[in-house]
Chain length 347, copies 2
C-alpha cells in the first residue's frame, strides 16, 4: 500500500500516508518550535514515517537551508598524533548526536581545499586545527586573535568560518586557541616524567619553521614554565629541519654547549624520530646516552628502534566542545584533556 513509486520515501509520501499536509510532517519531524501539533497527529506521522522508512533528502534540505548539516575538518598533511585522532572521535560523536555529519579532509591546508569542495558540501562550519599552529595575521598578545574579518571574498580563508552568524564563528575561533593551549599544556607531563627518571638538564627539540612555528613557540613557553615549576634550569632549545645531517650537527652543537643535558623533550613524535636518527649518526644510544621522549603518540613510535616513549593525549572532550561550537550550541565549561606517558624504550 502506498509504497512510494520506485525508490525512496519523500516527505510527501509520509504526508499522504498519514493524511496530513507535508508541512505538518515537517513540523513533527523537526520538532519545529512555535508550532503546536496534537499528540494524535504526531503519532500518526511518526508511525507513517517509520513504516515508510523515511529519511530526509539531505540535498534538498541543504538547498532550502542554504547549508548542509555537515562540519568539515581540514587537517594539514602533517603528522597526525593521537590527540588529533581522539579529537576527531569526539567531534564525530557529538556531531552525530545532533544529526550532523563530520567530514575529515586530510592533506590540504584549509585555504587550499580542492576546487568546489566547499560549494558542493556547503558545510555549516570549517574547522582547521593547523591554522592554530600557523602564525596569525594580526596577533595581539597570546589569545587566539586570528581576527581576519576583513573583505574576505572567498570562504574558508580564516581558521574556522561558520556558515551562519558571527556568533558561532567566534565560538569556533575560541576553540582553536584553546586547542593549541590545551595541547601545549601537556608539556608538563613530558617534563615531569623525565624528572621522575632522574633527569635534571633537559633540552627541548622543536621543528624549524614550517606550519608549526606558532605552536612551537607556544610549546616552548609552556615547557619553560613547566621547567621553572619543576625547579629545573632553563631548557636549551634545538631546532630541527627535515635534513638529517643538519639535525646531527645541531645535536652535536647542543651537546658541546650543554654537556650536562641528559634528556630531550621533543615537539612531537616526528621530531623525536629525527632526534633519534641524529643520535644514531652520532653513535649515541637512547636512553643510555640521551633519553628522548616524544609527544602526541603517533602510529610509528612502537615500531621504531629504540621504541619511542611518548605522551598520549586524549582530546575527545575538546572535539565534543568544538562540535558544539561549530553547530552553534552552548559551549559549556572548558573540558580537561587527560594525558599520560606511554613508556617504551627511548626514555
Amino acid at each position: 500500500m502506498s509504497i512510494p513509486s520506485g525508490s525512496r520515501a519523500t516527505l510527501k509520501d509520509v504526508a499522504r500516508e498519514s493524511g496530513v499536509s507535508s508541512a505538518t510532517v515537517s513540523f513533527v519531524l523537526n520538532r519545529t518550535s512555535g508550532q503546536t501539533i496534537s499528540a494524535a497527529t504526531r503519532e500518526r506521522v511518526l508511525a507513517a514515517a517509520a513504516r515508510l522508512g523515511y529519511t530526509p533528502h539531505r540535498i534538498a534540505r541543504a538547498l532550502r537551508e542554504g547549508t548542509s548539516r555537515t562540519v568539515l575538518l581540514s587537517t594539514g598533511s602533517g603528522p597526525a598524533g593521537h590527540s588529533l585522532e581522539s579529537f576527531i572521535d569526539g567531534l564525530e560523536t557529538e556531531l552525530g548526536e545532533h544529526g550532523y555529519t563530520l567530514l575529515v579532509v586530510r592533506g590540504h591546508r584549509a585555504g587550499a581545499l580542492p576546487a568546489g569542495l566547499l560549494e558542493t558540501i556547503a558545510p555549516r562550519a570549517v574547522l582547521d586545527p593547523v591554522s592554530a599552529y600557523a602564525p596569525a595575521a594580526a596577533d595581539a598578545g597570546d589569545g587566539a586573535g586570528a581576527a581576519s574579518d576583513g573583505a574576505d571574498a572567498g570562504d574558508g580563508a580564516g581558521g574556522a568560518s561558520g556558515g551562519a552568524g558571527a556568533a558561532d564563528r567566534a565560538g569556533v575561533a575560541d576553540w582553536e586557541g584553546g586547542w593549541a593551549h590545551g595541547l601545549a599544556a601537556h608539556s608538563q607531563t613530558q617534563l615531569r616524567y623525565l624528572v621522575e627518571q632522574g633527569h635534571r638538564e633537559i633540552a627541548v627539540a622543536l621543528p624549524e619553521g614550517g606550519p608549526y612555528a606558532r605552536l612551537a613557540a607556544l610549546r616552548l613557553d609552556y615547557a619553560r614554565t613547566a621547567a621553572a615549576e619543576l625547579g629545573l634550569p632553563e631548557p636549551p632549545v634545538i631546532r630541527l629541519g627535515s635534513d638529517r645531517a643538519a639535525a646531527a650537527a645541531e645535536l652535536r652543537g647542543m651537546r658541546k654547549k650543554h654537556p650536562g643535558v641528559s634528556a630531550i623533550a621533543a615537539f612531537n613524535d616526528d621530531v623525536a624520530f629525527l632526534v633519534l636518527g641524529a643520535m644514531a649518526d652520532l653513535e649515541l644510544e637512547a636512553p643510555a646516552d640521551l633519553a628522548v621522549i616524544g609527544f602526541d603518540e603517533s602510529r610509528y613510535g612502537a615500531l621504531w628502534r629504540p621504541a619511542l616513549t611518548t605522551v598520549r593525549i586524549d582530546a575527545a572532550a575538546y572535539g565534543r566542545r568544538a562540535a558544539r561550537g561549530a553547530i552553534g550550541l552552548e559551549l559549556g565549561e572548558w573540558p580537561s584533556s587527560p594525558s599520560r606517558v606511554v613508556r617504551r624504550e627511548s626514555a
Copy 2:
C-alpha cells in the same frame, strides 16, 4: 546595475542581465545538445555570466540531477605509500578537467563511511582501493574468504558503486583489479635491483592476514614469477604480524632454514620497518648482514635508521583512468605506471 541583491549571481540573474530566459542561459552554459542557440545570444549570455561572476549552485544542481558532480575516494586507515598519493593526484587532475570534485576520505572502510556522508554528498561514484586488497566475495583460490555481502541494505558496500548505469560500475571495477595487478607487477623492479646488487637468494616478507591478505597473495605470485624470470631460486616467505618479538623469531627461523638468504624484499615500507626492527633485535645490520628493500615509498623511510631503500611507484596515470571510468567516459588503453628504486642505505 542589476547586481544580484546581496550575495551570489544565479541563473536568473544572468538571464535578466542578458535579456533571455533562464532556460536559454542553462542551454548556453551547459552546451546542451539538441538545442540551437544563435552565436549572438551565446555571446551575450557568456558575457553576462562572466560579468556577474556566475557560478552554478552545486547543491541546486545536485538536487535536480540526483547526484553531485563529485567522486568519493575512500581509503583505508592503512599506510599510504607514494602509489596512492600519485594515484590521487591523477584522479584529482582528470576529474578537475571535467568539472568534477574529488573527495578523499581516509580511515574508513568503504562499507563503514560516517553516517549520512553518502547521502549528503551523493557522489557520482565511490572508489575504494582497499577493497582490491580485501578478499573478494567469490574468490576461488587462496584469499581468506571474509565474504560478507549478505543483506546489505546500505549503499557503498561494493568496491565501487557508480551512481548511474551498470556500465561505469563495470568500468570502475575493472580499474580496481587492474590497480592491484599494476601495483604488484612492480615486484620485478624490487627483485631486479637486489640482483643487480649481487644477491641471489632473496626472501619475501609479507604481512600476516589483515586487509592485505589478497594483495599479499598477488604480490607473492608476481615475486615468484619475477624470481623465475631472473633465474633465481624460489624465494622463501616470512609472514610478519605487528608484534616485534614474533617478527624477530620468524626472521631467525627463516635464517636458520635458508642460511644463504642475503636480501629481503618487503611487501611495503611498513613491513620493511618491521623487518629492520627484528634485525636490530637480532643484532643484524642492513645491508651488511641482510639487505632490505621496501615497496611503495612511504614518508618515513628516509628518517629510518638505516634509511630505507624502496621502490617508488607513480600511479598518476592509473588515477586518471580511474577518474574517466568513474564519470563514465571512455577508458582508453591501459596506461603503464613507471617505477624506480629509491636508493638509500638498507639495500
